[in-house]
Structures are given as structure tokens and as C-alpha cells.
């Protein structure tokens, strides 16, 4: 039996072996990428990015919920009083102007997922209340009571007609 002739012997670990090991390990690591990437959303999921929402038939003060990318989106037609009230305040923990959160003041479009842990807030007389941990949002979707840290997300959307928007 050849004596103690192993690659574990540091002095024998020559450059060729080191280089080969490095090349091999690099290849093995690169080979892992397709497996990891295959778990990311596939092409068809990524293109399901836009949803058309019809605004007709929503009465003043009413909220309609639509689905976008599998998430609920609140579309609210705000009354004059609600608009005025929202424009007058800056919100709560996450101060933001109401005008920055809407494209047309009477239409509020926000993602209906609480920014705390993702539950869907329920509509109250005014604003929303999240049943999971009690976060409160105003009629601009801004958080006024925690534990939610941020205002409800405003998704990208655009008006393609007076009564139609495309979200995403």
C-alpha cells in the first residue's frame, strides 16, 4: 500500500490540483443556477401583470375589489367630503400627501394587503381596519394606527378611458 499518499497532505496540494478543483467547483455552482431559477415565477406568471378594471357602476363612497396578480386591489370612488378630508391631512405614521397617491382625486386605487403581514383589511364606515392585528388605514389608504409600518401600496395604473383603468 503506497504510504500516506493523499491529497490531504497540504504540501502535495499543487497548483494543478488547486486549479482543477476551483474550475470544477465553479462549474458545479453554475450548474445549480438553473435549478434555483426554475423556482422563480415562470414567463406566463410574469406576463399576467396587467388587469383591466371597469370603473362604471361604482357609486360615490363605494369600494370595489378586483384581482391583480393574484392580489386584491381596492378601487374606491371618493365623495367630495372624503377627498377634502384626505387632502387636509397628511396621514399617520407614514406621512404622504393624498394628491401624491391618486391620479384623479375621486378615484383611490390601492393594493388591499396590510403592509404588516399581508392580511386583507376590511372596509369600515371610513377607512379600513385590518382584522389580524388591528392596523387602521384612512380613506387614502394611509396607515393611521399600527402595527403596519407603511401606507397601502399604490399599484401602477393608467386610465385608458374615463371609466376604465389598466392596473400593472
Amino acid at each position: 500500500m503506497a504510504d500516506g499518499d493523499t491529497l490531504n497532505d497540504p504540501e502535495r496540494r499543487d497548483f494543478l490540483t488547486k486549479a482543477t478543483t476551483a474550475v470544477g467547483v465553479a462549474g458545479a455552482a453554475a450548474a445549480c443556477w438553473p435549478f434555483v431559477s426554475s423556482m422563480n415565477p415562470s414567463v406566463d406568471v410574469l406576463t399576467k401583470a396587467t388587469t383591466e378594471a371597469d370603473l362604471s357602476g361604482i357609486a360615490a363612497g363605494e369600494v370595489r375589489t378586483v384581482s391583480w396578480q393574484g392580489k386584491p386591489v381596492f378601487i374606491m370612488r371618493r365623495t367630495e367630503q372624503q377627498i377634502a378630508a384626505m387632502q387636509a391631512s397628511k396621514g399617520g405614521f407614514d406621512p404622504e400627501d393624498d394628491q401624491k397617491r391618486v391620479q384623479q382625486p375621486q378615484w383611490l386605487v390601492v393594493v388591499g394587503l396590510c403592509t404588516h403581514l399581508g392580511c386583507v383589511p376590511t372596509r369600515g364606515d371610513s377607512g379600513w381596519l385590518c382584522p389580524c392585528h388591528g392596523s387602521v388605514y384612512d380613506d387614502s389608504g394611509r396607515v393611521t394606527r399600527g402595527p403596519a409600518p407603511k401606507n397601502l401600496e399604490v399599484p401602477p395604473y393608467q386610465f385608458v378611458a374615463a371609466d376604465k383603468i389598466v392596473i400593472g
Binding site: L7, L16, G24
Partner: protein, 215 residues
């Protein structure tokens, strides 16, 4: 002991190639075009002439854009349908059954589903003729219910040349539809093989050096 290896190699080769020459139909061998303009023309031909009866259900209009076809051309082809809509047949299945007695097969994989691949599609499109009984038929698939969509059986020589071009474009497009990631795959393959050759050479050198320690 070289002779047995040669014999085995020959035997193996013959076994592998025999299925390839088992098809009795003579196909015209074509080289599928990877040229974008050919694929564009092919897409146009297929969408305007084939979608009337056939579907391409695994293709979406958005994918035509990914092929490289300009957005306005894609919009013209989809004629108001959503970008994410699949290219479905315009003829409902029950109507097709009534008219033809068979539902025309979906063409998404046709270039892979026939022995001979794209050459089969090409030869089939050009294989229409009027047989001895005066009935329209196809040389490649006798008894087909499909009509002579390109008008091959009544074409003169000049027209036939043009039809050959259209059939080649259509077959090339359908080959792409059956395997849209082919180019990406081959590209990646070049790098992978190159890397493996380098690594294997290094591994061989390491092996030699290790074994040199013996004796």
C-alpha cells in the same frame, strides 16, 4: 483486441440508423431557416392561412414579439385579441368534425410529431396532387382530409417555385414554434461543452500526476 470492438461498433451503428431509413415516404429534405425575415413570413403565412382550421395553442401572440417580429406586425396578426391570448383555431371543434370528419390537429408540435420533422411539414404542404381517380390527395399523407391550401396541385412551374418558398418559410416557422428555445439551448451548449472540455483536460492531467506517484 480491436476487431470485436469494430464489429460491435458497426452493429450498434446499424441498429441506430435503421429506424431512420424505415420510413417509406420519400421526403424532400430541407434546412430550416433561422433567418428572422423567413420566420416572419412563415408566421404570417401560418397565421393567415392555417389558423382558420388549425390551432397553435401553446403559442401566445406575445411570443411572436419575442421571436423578433415587430410590434405593429404582431398587432396586425392578432387583430384585437389580447397579447396573452393563445393562437387558437378559428374553427370550433364540432364544426370541424362536421366538415372534415376529423378535428384538424394542433400545429404547435407538428414539426416534432412526425418522423422527418420540418422536412415532413414542407413535403406535406407541397405534396398535394390530384390522383388517378381525379380525387385531391397528398403524396406524403395519402387519405388526408386537408384541402390543398397552397394550391400546389394546380400550380405551374413559376408558381410552384414561389410556393416552395412559402412552404419553406411556413415549415421554418412551425419548427420554431415546436422548439422556441432551440437557439438559446444551442448557445448555452457551446459554452457548456467548452467548459467541460477544459475541465476534463485538467482532470486528466490531475489523474496522470496522481497515478505517476505509483512505483
Amino acid at each position: 483486441m480491436k476487431a470485436p470492438w469494430k464489429a460491435m461498433g458497426l452493429l450498434l451503428l446499424s441498429v441506430v440508423t435503421i429506424p431512420a431509413w424505415a420510413t417509406e415516404i420519400r421526403l424532400e429534405k430541407i434546412r430550416v431557416s433561422a433567418d428572422l425575415s423567413a420566420l416572419e413570413r412563415g408566421a404570417e403565412t401560418v397565421v393567415t392561412m392555417c389558423l382558420g382550421c388549425h390551432g397553435l395553442k401553446y403559442m401566445k401572440y406575445r411570443d411572436l414579439g419575442k421571436l423578433g417580429i415587430a410590434q405593429d406586425k404582431v398587432d396586425a396578426l392578432r387583430a384585437g385579441q389580447a397579447l396573452d391570448a393563445p393562437l387558437l383555431s378559428q374553427m370550433p371543434a364540432d364544426v370541424a368534425l362536421q366538415s372534415f370528419g376529423i378535428v384538424p390537429p394542433d400545429l404547435s408540435l407538428i414539426a416534432k410529431a412526425r418522423a422527418g420533422g420540418a422536412s415532413y411539414v414542407y413535403s406535406f404542404l407541397l405534396g398535394f396532387h390530384v390522383n388517378a381517380q381525379g380525387i385531391p390527395d397528398n403524396r406524403v399523407f395519402p387519405g388526408t382530409k386537408m384541402p390543398d391550401i397552397l394550391g400546389v396541385s394546380s400550380a405551374d412551374d413559376a408558381q410552384r417555385a414561389e410556393l416552395q418558398g412559402r412552404a419553406l418559410d411556413a415549415a421554418s416557422f412551425l419548427a420554431w414554434v415546436a422548439d422556441p428555445r432551440a437557439e438559446e439551448r444551442r448557445n448555452m451548449g457551446k459554452y457548456v461543452i467548452a467548459y467541460l472540455v477544459v475541465l476534463t483536460v485538467l482532470l486528466y492531467l490531475v489523474k496522470r500526476r496522481v497515478w505517476a506517484r505509483l512505483k
